[in-house]
């Protein structure tokens, strides 16, 4: 008796005597009851909403009608367990924000919501009468036939009984014959109930549980949220950079100016020496802060774009770097930023580990994608996964649907290549001028 669904149960012996026909009957009976209730609800909402729409009060009612599928589907998924205990997950997404508006926005955009409304209408208009009919034909008719001798003994005073309110039976043998026929039909009806319940459950499952398409939608949604996360991270970088720049850095410069003025006025001696020392410390704090800010988000990247920022990174590299870039315009911020940080990390690795005497950074845009290469003539053996700092950058590139590949055989040379699909966000002559 441990069949997983009514269909499985029907393939096994003893089905008629098991709980399954009764579960099927319970499923169909509860379906008929629920369905008739849904019909009343929908008709009431539609009539009231339609009538009151003129005075605008009805509009929320009509909106509620659009969402009527949600509770119906929820009850239906619960009822499904009677004949089909397999998992029937909720196809809806959780709204990201709390509150009624975001919830409504998510629900109204979901395909599942409209499919559930369709199911509710189908249920109210067609399915529940079918449920009721099947139960009547497969259960109540045979039962009432089986009960013919009892009816004859009680209601009919042993003289007569009406079978299914149609034919009159007047003698005991016929009554028992009808009763026997009823038992046979009841056994057949058990299968009919099983088939009807199984088919109904199948249809319900098809309409109101998640489909593979929605699984695909979820994957897309996940990818989108990853992009949003990267965007948020980028925005946070810029905010930190701005706060440091407009706050701490300006204060330090002002302090340095004040100290400089004090030095002008101080007589030569220990005081002037102390002031000079203080100013020197303010100066090194400024230099450190400048490097820190530059590492967070270089302003030149925002102002002049990738080409100038990469040229600047090359300036800061101890190993001589040749830059051959061809960028007649600006690319989306996230793309520029990811490509820039990859180049920076690669150049830092060239400085630290490669032992190279020369490096080359090349870049361009073609076939709808940005490509950037960093090559050095060092000893090779670099590993993108070996904590080189490139792993995180590879992840960032992949969020943008890009690819980062590294070729670094022992003995060199090392070649790093990044490709990110993107289009120009604007073309300027400024990137050319400033390079």
């Amino acid at each position: 008796m441990d069949s997983r669904s009514v269909w499985q149960a029907m393939t096994r012996p003893g089905f008629s005597l098991s709980w399954w026909p009764w579960r099927s009957a319970a499923y169909l009976v509860s379906g008929a009851v629920t369905g008739s209730f849904v019909l009343v609800l929908i008709v009431l909402l539609a009539v009231a909403g339609g009538a009151l729409a003129i005075v605008l009060v009805g509009l929320p009612l009509l909106a509620a009608l659009a969402l009527a599928g949600l509770p119906v589907a929820r009850v239906e998924r619960f009822r499904l367990r009677l004949v089909d205990p397999g998992p029937a997950p909720d196809p809806h997404r959780e709204p990201v924000l709390p509150g009624l508006r975001p919830w409504l926005a998510v629900r109204l955009r979901e395909r599942a919501t409209w499919r559930e409304l369709g199911y509710a209408l189908l249920f109210a208009g067609l399915l529940w009468p079918v449920d009721a009919l099947v139960v009547a034909v497969a259960l109540f008719f045979p039962v009432s036939m089986v009960a013919t001798p009892v009816l004859m003994a009680t209601v009919g005073d042993g003289q007569e009984a009406k079978v299914l309110k149609q034919w009159t039976v007047t003698d005991w043998p016929t009554a028992f014959g009808v009763s026997l026929l009823g038992l046979v039909l009841l056994a057949l009806g058990a299968y009919a109930l099983g088939v009807a319940a199984g088919a109904r459950a199948g249809l319900t499952r098809l309409l109101i549980t998640p489909r593979d398409v929605e699984l695909g939608e979820r994957v897309v949604e996940l990818a989108r949220s990853r992009v949003r996360l990267v965007d948020a991270f980028e925005a946070e970088r810029r905010r930190i950079e701005r706060d440091l720049h407009d706050g701490a850095q300006q204060r330090l410069v002002a302090l340095s100016v004040t100290l400089g003025l004090a030095r002008l006025d101080a007589p030569p001696g220990p005081l002037a020496d102390q002031l000079a020392k203080a100013q020197e410390q303010a100066g090194s704090a400024l230099a450190e802060l400048r490097e820190l800010i530059h590492g967070i988000h270089p302003q030149v990247l925002a102002d002049y774009g990738l080409q100038a920022a990469v040229a600047d990174a090359a300036d800061r590299t101890a190993v001589p770097v040749d830059v051959t870039f061809d960028m007649p315009g600006r690319l989306p911020r996230a793309v520029e930023s990811a490509a820039y940080f990859v180049v920076c990390e690669a150049l830092a690795n060239v400085d630290r580990h490669s032992g190279a005497s020369r490096a080359e950074v090349g870049g361009g845009h073609g076939d709808g994608r940005l490509f950037v290469t960093v090559r050095d003539d060092g000893r090779g053996g670099a590993d993108a996964g070996g904590g080189s700092g490139l792993t995180g950058l590879a992840d960032r590139v992949s969020v943008l649907d890009g690819r980062l590949s590294l070729s670094s055989p022992p003995g060199g040379p090392t070649l790093l290549r990044v490709e990110i699909p993107c289009e120009w966000s604007q073309l300027t002559d400024r990137a050319h001028r400033s390079a």
């Binding site: 410069v253 100016v257 400089g260 002008l264 100066g283 300036d315 101890a318 400033s434």
Partner: protein
């Protein structure tokens, strides 16, 4: 009126800096050395208006300013130079990037231009000296930018000897021949010879000497 730095008359300065703290500090400093701040504003639009109204001797501006906090100050400087190529402009930047310096030097004929790191302001004498040189039509590029550029060996500078590169770097900082000679402990004539070599190797034909110096510095920044 003579300024207290003793190297020339007092300058009428238009100042643009959005940080109030630093603006007040700069006004104090410039007034202290005998210059006159005729306008002190907090954004690029106000700077353009103030320059039109006051006609200052020199403009001192920050790069990043409201409303966009990008390079509004620099763009304002470029616009001012387009309208009045001889207007001396000293740009103070929090960043040392040749992209900014190169764009600035491209404006006008490249003379009377300064691009300094804000840190230099604290070194009062150096700063006042640079301000004076820019006001006198000189070209001053921050030593930090020069230092970064020197680390790279690229065309067309590859043809220069190491000594010529040193001379060029000091030229970029806006030094006079005499000052370069003192720095490198050579004679002024030797500096003149090096400069001749640099100008020849960078394919800068003989013309007005000051202008060719600027072109050499530009070649250096663009290399």
């Amino acid at each position: 009126m003579e300024s207290v730095d003793g190297s020339g008359p007092s300058l009428r300065i238009a100042l643009a800096e959005d940080s109030v703290l630093l603006r007040e500090g700069l006004i104090g400093l410039l007034t202290r050395v005998g210059h006159e701040v005729v306008a002190a504003v907090g954004d690029a639009q106000a700077l353009l208006a103030a320059v039109a109204e006051q006609e200052p001797d020199i403009v001192v501006t920050d790069v990043r300013m409201p409303p966009g906090f990008q390079d509004e100050g620099l763009q304002a400087a470029v616009r001012l130079r387009a309208a009045r190529p001889a207007l001396p402009v000293l740009v103070l930047s929090q960043y040392v990037q040749r992209a900014y310096a190169a764009e600035l030097l491209d404006s006008g004929d490249g003379t009377g231009i300064g691009y300094l790191l804000k840190d230099r302001v604290g070194q009062v004498e150096e700063f006042v000296d640079a301000l004076r040189r820019v006001a006198d039509g000189g070209t001053v590029v921050d030593p930090e930018v020069v230092r970064q550029l020197l680390r790279r060996r690229r065309d067309p500078l590859e043809r220069l000897t190491p000594r010529e590169r040193e001379v060029l770097a000091l030229m970029a900082e806006g030094r006079s021949n005499g000052s370069i000679a003192r720095e490198l402990v050579v004679s002024e004539a030797a500096v003149g010879k090096h400069i001749g070599g640099i100008l020849a190797k960078l394919d800068l034909p003989p013309a007005d000497e000051t202008h060719r110096r600027v072109l050499a510095v530009l070649a250096f920044l663009r290399a």
